[in-house]
Structures are given as C-alpha cells and as structure tokens.
Amino acid sequence: MEPSIIKDRVAIVGIGETRVGKALQASEQELTCQAIAAALADAGIDPKEVDGLSSFSIETTDEEAVSRNLGLGDLTYFVRSPHGGGGGCATVGYAAMGLVTGQARVTVAWRARKRSKPEQRPWMGTAPRVKDRLMWTNPFGIIRPVDELALFFRRYMHEWGATREHLCNIAMACRAHANRKPESIMYGRTLDRDTYFSGRWICDPLSLYDCCLETDLAQAVVMVSADRAKDCPNKPVYLHSFGQGITIDSGMLGSLFGVNPMHTQGYIAAEMLYRYSDFKASNIDVAQLYDSFTPWVLQQLESYGFCKPGEAGSFSENGTLELGGRLPINTGGGSLSDGYSHGYNHIIEGVKQMRGTSTAQVADAQSCLITSSDGAPTSAIILRN
C-alpha cells in the first residue's frame, strides 16, 4: 500500500488555552486571540510567520479578525471543518494537509466557545418554523442534543444489554482525572456512584452526570513540518494518522432514521484512521474520546475497535478507563468534567500526554487516540511522540 502523505510529517509544537470558566468577561474573539497567542509563545514562533489557519465552520471569529488582532503574516491557506463537534480533529488533519502540500508553513488551529449561560444554548434559538432534517424531530419536542442521545442509548441498552452502571463508569473516570487537574471546572469535586444515580433526569435514560459541562474557553495548537519541529523548544508531537467518517444513514446526532443506527460514523473514521497507522486499538496507550454525552464514549470503544460491538459496557468495568487501567480515557477530565470546547481540550490533553506533562500522565505513553463525536459526521487523529 502507498504510504500516507501526512503520516508523521507534521508536528504540533505549541498549545495554548485560556482559563476554563463560567461567564468570563472577555469576548469570544478575545478568548480566541488569547489562546492563539499563548500557543505561538509556547511554540516559540513569531505571529508574523503564521500563514495558515484552520478552524470549525461554526467558529464565530473569522480569519480576518484573527489576523488583524494578532498581526499575523499574509495568509495563504485557510480551511474550516463542518459538523460542529465532529469537526474538531479535522481542523488538525486539514492543517497537516496544508503543511505537507506546501500551501502553508505555520498553521494555527483553534476553537473558542462561550456557552456557559443558559440563553447561549443553541437549541434555545429553535425557529418557530423548522426545515430540512429538523422538521422530522423538532415539532415533537426532540429539540436538544440530549434528546437524540437518550433515544440512541435506550435502543443501545435494548440491543446490547448495557445499563446506566456502565455510563456511570464513564462519568466517574472523567471526574477522577479532572480531580487531578487544578484548572478543571470539576477539580475538587469528586463523583461517586450514589451521586451519579441521584442526578436529576435531563432526558431519561440520561441524567445530569451524563451531560457535558457548558463553559467559556478557547484553545489552540500550532503546527509545522516535522523538519521545522526539531528546532522548536518543545518535544514535537507528531500527527500519525487522521480519519473522517460519514455513513450513508448519517443524521446529525443519532442516525435513528437509518437502517442500522448502531453502525455509527466512528466505524468509518476508524477504518480510515487505522489504514496507514502503525498503532491499532491493541497498542494505543491512552485515548481522549468525545464525551458530549456518556453514551458516545461506550459507542466509541466499539467503533474504534477496543472491544467488539455490544461489549463496551463490560469493557468499561473494573477501572479499565481510569489511570492505571488498560485504556485511560479523557485524562484531563474531558467534556464531562474539565470543560466543553467541542472536544478541543481533548486535543490539548493528547499533546500533553505525548509530551509527558499531563496531570494524569500515562507512563511511557507513545500513542494517543483523539476523537471528535461519533454519531455526528466525525473525525479522529492519532498522535505519537
């Protein structure tokens, strides 16, 4: 097989993040610039050298604004990835493509998000008349992302015999890791099984502790070629593999109109991801799995091949997903307990694991899987050091 043109050819050399908080004073644009400036400082690269930008299609701060605020160089490459949180890892993949093809020399990828106030939830702005995909669900009160996820997980339980005990394993693993990270929203607040099961219903079978936090924050990474990375102050973290996935039955969150909604988009991204990868599920040391809602983590353990379809529930038992277990996940606390940036904190945390600087460091970790969603059109990367 022809080798992948991007495999190990590009490295993340800088990471930057703002405080994770509620009702932060700074605007989303200011937070964006804080994160990017911090990432460039971390990389030891002058803003004038930046000629590539990569972000989400839903990002509100555009390329011109970033350039004007930070005094970047002339931009020769700028890309956006679609599908909300599903596009997170794709921003890194697209940045790499710009670098290996010579369309850019220094590329910044980022996500900024101010959603800590209830009125900032996108579903609060549901229109009185809806079209396209939404017309088949919204008129019946299937409005919030959690509603689709609850419907997905009820069926998942029916198909595979999973229980909410398994979701609790996910929530507790993320919380245990957040408790080690002083910057996390849930640092200092432990979560035990009784507390999980006392959580109020949001959409039965999902309760409060199955849902991610809503926070204000911004996070950014700086990427250059592997050659250039050797001259940067930090240990280079290489992009080893990149995949995206859309199934024929894709819906935005659950593909519940499709023939087999349990065949999620993660299966497609995983196949692409492992096609050129030296790492497979069996030798991935640590994973940052998209956790907007706990059921997605169970599903991804299957989609990305850590266990067989239907076996994620039992795989999640006995501390497998916590530090010291076979596959520590979301070692920065994840979206459930650290903060929610459409999974960009997973990318930052993955880089820290590969640098050896995580607050929940997996000893000698050499590979980290990072995913962006599963039910939505999705993307994923493998980082190595």
Binding site: R133, I142, I143, D147, L256, F257
Partner: protein
C-alpha cells in the same frame, strides 16, 4: 404558546405535509425500483434515479426507541414535561421510522400515556392533529 412547526413548502417534502393535512400517512416509493424511503429526498439512493410516488401506509407501527424529556425545555413543551418521545418503525415498511409523541386518545396531551406503558415494541397507530392552516402533525396512539 410559541410552537415549533415544519416548513411545509419545500419541494422535496411538501407531498408528505399535503397528505398529512388529509389525514394520510405517506412515504416515498421509487417509481424505478420500488424502494420505499423516509425522510423524503429527491433521488433514490438504491437505484440513483429520480421519480417517486407517495404511497399510503397502514398507519400502524411499533415503538423502536423512546425517552422521557425533562426540563429545561422550550416553553412550548415545558408544561408537558416529563413527556415521552419515540421513534416508531412502520409495520408495513420496516426499517422506515418516524419520530413523534405518544397520546392516549386522539385529542390527549403529549404526556397522557403513563411512563410504565411505554416500551420498545409497543404497537401504535397514527392520528393526525391540525396545528396550523398548512400543518397537521402525526401523533401515535397505543393500541392493544
């Protein structure tokens, strides 16, 4: 009460809403290969041809999955929480499914079916309710 209703004048989907207004539950059937499809779209993904007719369904189906919505919700729905939401698989066209609500009688509220009664496999029948001049929405009534 600010309701959430479908836009009914889209070329690809208006056939469904016109039939609904007449109390008929319809799905598309490809005129080339006969494949039934829902939600509606202009090309048949199986034979890659355009051209379809709207065919009447029996209106019977079974609950394929369900959940119970709690607060916080949009004002239009919040008074009814907790209420069930369902996907119903059509009895005569599996695996086609519609999303919807359960109602105990044709005119009852969307929280009128007891939670204990809601199960995967529950048999239901469609009823239509006028919600605007151009909109009738399908609801699902349990049948024993």
């Amino acid at each position: 009460m600010a309701e959430v209703l479908p836009k009914t004048d889209d070329e690809d989907t208006e056939g469904f809403w016109k039939a609904a207004k007449q109390g008929r539950l319809v799905v598309q059937k490809c005129t080339s290969c006969g494949e039934a499809r829902f939600p509606p779209h202009p090309y048949c993904g199986k034979c890659r041809k355009t051209g379809h007719e709207w065919i009447d369904c029996s209106g019977y189906g079974r609950v394929w999955t369900y959940a119970f919505v709690y607060k916080p919700m949009l004002p239009a729905f919040e008074a009814y929480t907790p209420f069930p939401i369902v996907y119903v698989e059509l009895e005569d066209h599996p695996p086609l499914r519609l999303a919807g609500n359960l109602v105990a009688t044709p005119d009852a509220d969307i929280n009128s079916v007891d939670q204990d009664r809601v199960k995967i496999g529950l048999r239901v029948k469609v009823v239509f309710r006028d919600r605007a001049e151009d909109v009738a929405l399908p609801y699902w009534m349990p049948v024993e």
